[in-house]
């Protein structure tokens, strides 16, 4: 178990390093970053000053190692436009996005797992068909359009919820639904397939042969095993949501990491963009690691490995 964790941490580190290399090279995709910062038509002396200030005049390798060394210490440099350390801005915004992501994944799980279980317990029933329809429809709705439609109905027509901002918990309801529904189909399908498979297994027959009541058979014996792959999926999807929150945060003007990313992309604030991509990549890798550990916790067979 320890060896497994250490090995996975090693892979996580390597992934983070690769991502850092890719994001760092993003600066040079555009050509000369000094010109990009100074803006079109800036004076040559200004550009030269900027180049000196940010150290663009040094060899690229030196710049990368320097940047990486800073990143490892939690120093992502200074924002081109906000005149603040990037790390400070990111860690001020990150909690909002994590809160939004958690609410979204919570919504998805609360909707998808019961639907998936019910569909599996009564395969081909009306309920199963309904669940399948929810899945098919959910997968096809463009997130931004669904968000706007929610605003139109829940926010404007019925005036149930505030439209923009991130001040109260009500502000998070619509964004969480808009962000979370996209994951619902995948979770539901996986739950349904898992429960169906487990219900057909020999140990479920053993449990029934003991005279256990149907709820005990379902919740104690079936769900515990069927839910294991769902846990991994949820962790991975949570990572995707943090990355995908940019659309939702922009629409609902939630002051999180996604909105920050949007702002920095518009201002061509490269250090901030790089740092956000790197932070999200590290979070994703840590989440997959967490999913593996959770799996080992839920499945005793994996613990020995």
């Amino acid at each position: 178990m320890l060896a497994f964790t250490v090995k996975r941490l090693g892979v996580a580190l390597l992934v983070a390093l690769t991502v850092s290399l890719i994001t760092f090279s993003m600066i040079y995709v555009s050509g000369d970053p000094a010109i990009a910062i100074a803006g079109e038509g800036a004076r040559a002396s200004d550009i030269e000053a900027i180049r000196k200030f940010y150290g663009f005049d040094r060899p690229i390798i030196v710049q990368y190692v320097d940047w990486l060394a800073g990143a490892l210490r939690g120093d992502f440099g200074r924002s081109f436009t906000l005149r603040q350390p990037v790390a400070d801005i990111i860690f001020a915004r990150l909690p909002v996005t994590i809160l939004l992501g958690a609410a979204a994944i919570g919504f998805a799980l609360v909707l998808a797992i019961p639907l998936g279980v019910l569909a599996a317990v009564r395969p081909n029933s009306m309920l199963d068909r309904f669940a399948l329809t929810v899945a098919v429809v959910g997968q096809a709705m463009p997130t931004f359009w669904f968000a706007l439609t929610l605003i139109l109905w829940l926010g404007v027509t019925w005036r149930l919820l505030p439209i923009t901002g991130s001040d109260t918990w009500q502000h998070f309801v619509m964004p969480a639904i808009a962000l979370g529904y996209f994951v619902t189909p995948a979770v539901m399908r996986l739950t349904r397939a898992g429960v169906l498979e487990v219900l057909a297994s020999d140990y479920i027959r053993t449990a029934r042969a003991k005279g256990l009541r149907p709820p005990t058979v379902l919740f104690k014996h079936a769900l515990r095993n069927a839910i294991i792959p769902v846990v991994s999926l949820a962790a991975v999807q949570f990572g995707f949501m943090l990355g995908g929150s940019i659309v939702i945060e922009t629409i609902f003007q939630i002051n999180g990491l996604g909105y920050l990313a949007w702002e920095s992309i518009q201002r061509k604030d490269l250090p901030t963009m790089q740092a956000i991509v790197l932070v999200l990549a590290v979070i994703y890798v840590l989440l997959t690691l967490l999913a593996d550990l959770l799996n080992a916790f839920l499945d005793p067979r994996l613990r020995a490995a």
Binding site: Y203, R213, T216, R224, N225, L298, R301
Partner: protein, 339 residues
């Protein structure tokens, strides 16, 4: 007369399949008394497993079960509801399955899975349940029972898991145990140990035991009575002594001819085989099911259904119109010699 534990009368199991209805069990009747070991023998697909599952009401959801009578310890199991049946399962009748590797839930400890049947069916404390579980683990021959109790199924070998399954079946002191080929999936050396254990525990706890197997060597050693099934039907039933000394049905005779006997079967000599294939059980069929493979079949065998008739010994029934003349007959068809 001794106490009757299980009565099965005219049990039928039908399964819908794409080609129509599969009549998997066609009017099977047998009974089990306290302290008896009844062996159901027959080849794969003859309906013996479905018969056991039907008794426990554990058939697949799409299967349909009908019977004239199905009584466990005097209680009618046809009319009781799902809840009442669940009260009986595990408490009065327990089942041991063929696949010990997959029959235990990988997510819970052995102890947890042993305790839960007792906790479900009787008002005992967790401590009492644990004490009984550890006692039974020791009783089925598991050393260091207290530490095995805390282990997960994947940490145990197949033989140990089947011992756990046996202990689990005994947890509530059932009057009937159904064991469905409990040793098929195990190593040969372990098979004998497990069967020996089952027979011993059956005597000690005075339960009725229904042992489903295709191993006639085992049957000869531990059966009180034998039920021979072929293609969904009982073809012959009687005391073990009668079946083995005077088998009346050509199928039973064929099965017995397949058993190698130490000292009598010459080394390198071909064992008996039964040629042909089991007929399809989909749709209606007329005549003796075994006719197509039988060395003694005549036209009469194929034209009308055959009923169970009394043979010479008491309680010995056979489904063959020629059983009386059989010992003196020459085969109507010369069996293909096995290579």
């Amino acid at each position: 007369m001794s106490e009757r534990i299980l009565t099965v009368d005219n049990l039928r199991v039908d399964l819908p399949v794409p080609a129509g209805t599969l009549h998997a069990v066609q009017g099977v009747s047998f009974h089990v008394d306290r302290g008896e070991t009844v062996c159901i023998v027959g080849e794969s697909g003859c309906g013996k497993t479905l018969t056991a599952l039907a008794v426990m009401d554990l058939l697949p959801a799409r299967a349909r079960r009908t019977a004239q009578r199905l009584e466990l310890a005097g209680r009618d199991m046809l009319s009781i509801g799902e809840r009442a049946m669940a009260d009986i399962r595990g408490a009065r009748a327990a089942m041991i399955f063929q696949e010990p590797m997959t029959s235990l839930n990988p997510a819970y400890t052995i102890g947890n899975q042993l305790e839960e049947a007792l906790l479900r069916h009787s008002r005992v404390s967790r401590r009492q349940a644990r004490a009984r579980a550890v006692y039974l683990l020791e009783r089925v021959g598991i050393t260091a029972a207290a530490s095995r109790f805390k282990q997960y199924p994947h940490q145990l070998s197949g033989g140990l898991r089947q011992r756990v399954m046996i202990a689990m079946a005994l947890m509530c002191g059932p009057s009937l145990i159904l064991a469905d080929e409990p040793t098929t999936a195990l190593d040969v050396t372990i098979q004998a140990q497990i069967l020996h254990l089952l027979a011993e525990l059956q005597r000690e706890f005075a339960t009725g035991l229904v042992l489903i197997t295709h191993d006639l060597g085992v049957v000869a050693r531990i059966a009180t009575r034998v039920v021979v099934m072929y293609a969904g039907e009982v073809v012959e039933t009687g005391t073990a002594a009668a079946i083995f000394s005077r088998p009346a049905h050509p199928y039973t005779r064929g099965l017995i001819a397949c058993i190698p006997v130490p000292g009598r079967t010459r080394r390198g000599a071909a064992l008996g085989t039964i040629p042909g294939m089991v007929p399809s059980l989909v749709g209606k069929s007329i005549g003796c099911h075994f006719a197509s493979r039988c060395d003694y079949a005549i036209d009469a065998c194929r034209s009308a259904d055959v009923t169970l008739e009394a043979a010479r010994d008491a309680g010995h029934l056979v489904r063959c119109i020629r059983h009386a003349e059989l010992p003196a007959l020459a085969p109507t068809r010369v069996a293909e010699a096995a290579p």
